[in-house]
């Protein structure tokens, strides 16, 4: 039943990960080089630019730790290399899980891992994670140049509506996944409500007590809290 995990953890996928991460770092170095040179040309100081580099690196530490926490939650159902790769390119943890969930759903399954999650369902999850990110990349590749030009000519769009639209589109998908536990109840519903409760507590802490560092970790920690409730519920109640 777990044989897909053996495949998911095979060396060839670690190798893919290494190739992709190498390529990402290559791109970062290329851009660092040309913008550093351009910076010198227009009169930015070396010290200023290196300070920006250091600040960028340091301010990433906490969110990167949050990514590792998310990675730990994904490893038991998707293996190590695929979540590693996916969390290092294009998307982010919630997107990847949503896409993996859609991949499972389109094979007629409601969850990740567990009985029925065969290697074919796993493959479907992986394909959908990859395909879902085509859109963003293609839009940037094809249109960024002209969008930039239009923005500098001050195109007027309603930024408030854009925020609402994005939130609404995401809520549309979240609802589909929330509807399953709502209609089926049981352990899935317990887990979902636990996650919602913990997130609400975090939100209160962040807003009322101004603990804004928690923001990065709130999602990962509520997921872990919710899954801890699942363990309590299945083993001790």
């Amino acid at each position: 039943m777990k044989d897909y995990l053996q495949i998911a953890n095979s060396k060839v996928f670690f190798l893919c990960g290494a190739v992709i991460i190498g390529f990402i770092i290559l791109q970062a170095i290329l851009y660092f080089n040309i913008s550093y040179r351009e910076g010198i040309r227009i009169g930015l100081t070396r010290a200023k630019m290196l300070k920006a580099f250091r600040t960028g690196a340091i301010s990433t530490i906490v969110p990167a730790l949050a990514v590792i926490v998310a990675l730990i939650t994904m490893v038991p159902v998707l293996g190590i290399p695929i979540p590693w790769m996916r969390l290092s390119v294009i998307g982010s943890a919630p997107y990847e899980l949503m896409a993996a969930g859609i991949g499972a759903k389109s094979m007629g399954l409601d969850g990740l891992g567990g009985a029925g999650y065969t290697s074919q369902v796993f493959a479907s999850s992986v394909w959908i994670m990859c395909i879902g990110s085509i859109w963003a990349v293609m839009i940037v590749t094809l249109f960024l140049k002209s969008i930039k030009r239009r923005y500098s000519n001050n195109a007027d769009t309603d930024p408030k509506w854009r925020t609402v639209l994005t939130n609404a589109a995401f809520l549309g998908v979240f609802s589909i996944f929330m509807a399953d536990p709502i209609t089926k109840g049981g352990i899935a519903l317990v887990t979902m409500l636990s996650g919602a409760t913990i997130m609400t507590i975090f939100a209160l802490l962040i807003i009322k007590l101004k603990q804004s560092w928690l923001r990065e970790f709130a999602l990962a920690l509520s997921m872990i809290g919710a899954m801890a409730c699942t363990i309590l519920f299945t083993n001790f109640l």
Partner: protein
């Protein structure tokens, strides 16, 4: 001279994004070619329609939102590496802050590019260290006592993130949740139908509420 820098940025960006995108497809292609594992075309199409019905509108809006915040080179780097709102935007913002340059200026673009390059390199290294640490405990996570918890990862995620969005503006959530529960009652509907229905219902509902000035906008 000015234009040659801009052109170079776009050229490098376009080439690296396309190559990067192709590289991300190595795992599913290897699953297929080496192990012979591939989902049936019908299910795959179903999944493609579902994911695209969300990600196409979301991607368009996101690109339009991030473009004024980040320079072109910062955009190309952000879209190859992801984690934009939680890593790249904060790094760029604080980088411009410490270097005392303004966003949407030439200096701002260069500083944010450099800050994001730092962010990319640091985050990839930290995540690799994380993977090296997880590898030995990976086996233990499969323990039968805690394994059921990981199988509930989707309810855990959508409970948490759903609550977050509901707390932001609960009125937006009413229509999609009711729609989702309703379509969920009909057995056998493929996701290629249910997901677009919920996304569209949610967007139209939001448009109505927005026009009536019934929602407050945060973030």
């Amino acid at each position: 001279m000015d234009n040659s820098y801009e052109n170079k940025v776009h050229m490098i960006g376009r080439i690296t994004l396309v190559i990067g995108l192709v590289l991300t497809f190595l795992p599913p292609v290897f699953l297929w070619l080496i192990y012979g594992i591939v989902p049936p075309l019908k299910n795959l199409m179903n999944g493609i329609i579902s994911i695209s019905s969300v990600m196409l509108p979301v991607s368009i809006v996101e690109v339009l939102t991030f473009t004024p915040m980040l320079g072109a080179s910062a955009m190309y780097m952000s879209y190859l590496t992801g984690n934009i709102s939680n890593m790249k935007i904060p790094s760029a913002a604080i980088g411009m802050e410490v270097a005392e340059v303004k966003p949407s200026t030439k200096e701002g673009d260069i500083i944010s590019t450099i800050a994001i390059a730092g962010s990319v390199i640091a985050s990839e290294i930290i995540i690799i260290l994380g993977v090296l640490m997880i590898a030995p405990i990976g086996e233990k996570l499969g323990n039968p006592m805690i394994q059921p918890a990981f199988e509930q990862i989707l309810p855990a995620l959508f409970g948490s993130i759903g609550a977050y969005y509901i707390l932001k503006e609960w009125k937006l959530a009413v229509i999609p949740i009711l729609t989702a529960v309703a379509v969920n009652m009909i057995p056998g509907l493929p996701t290629a139908i249910t997901i677009p229905i919920c996304v569209l219902a949610s967007i139209f509902g939001a448009r109505f509420l927005y026009k009536k000035n019934l929602i407050k906008v945060t973030d």
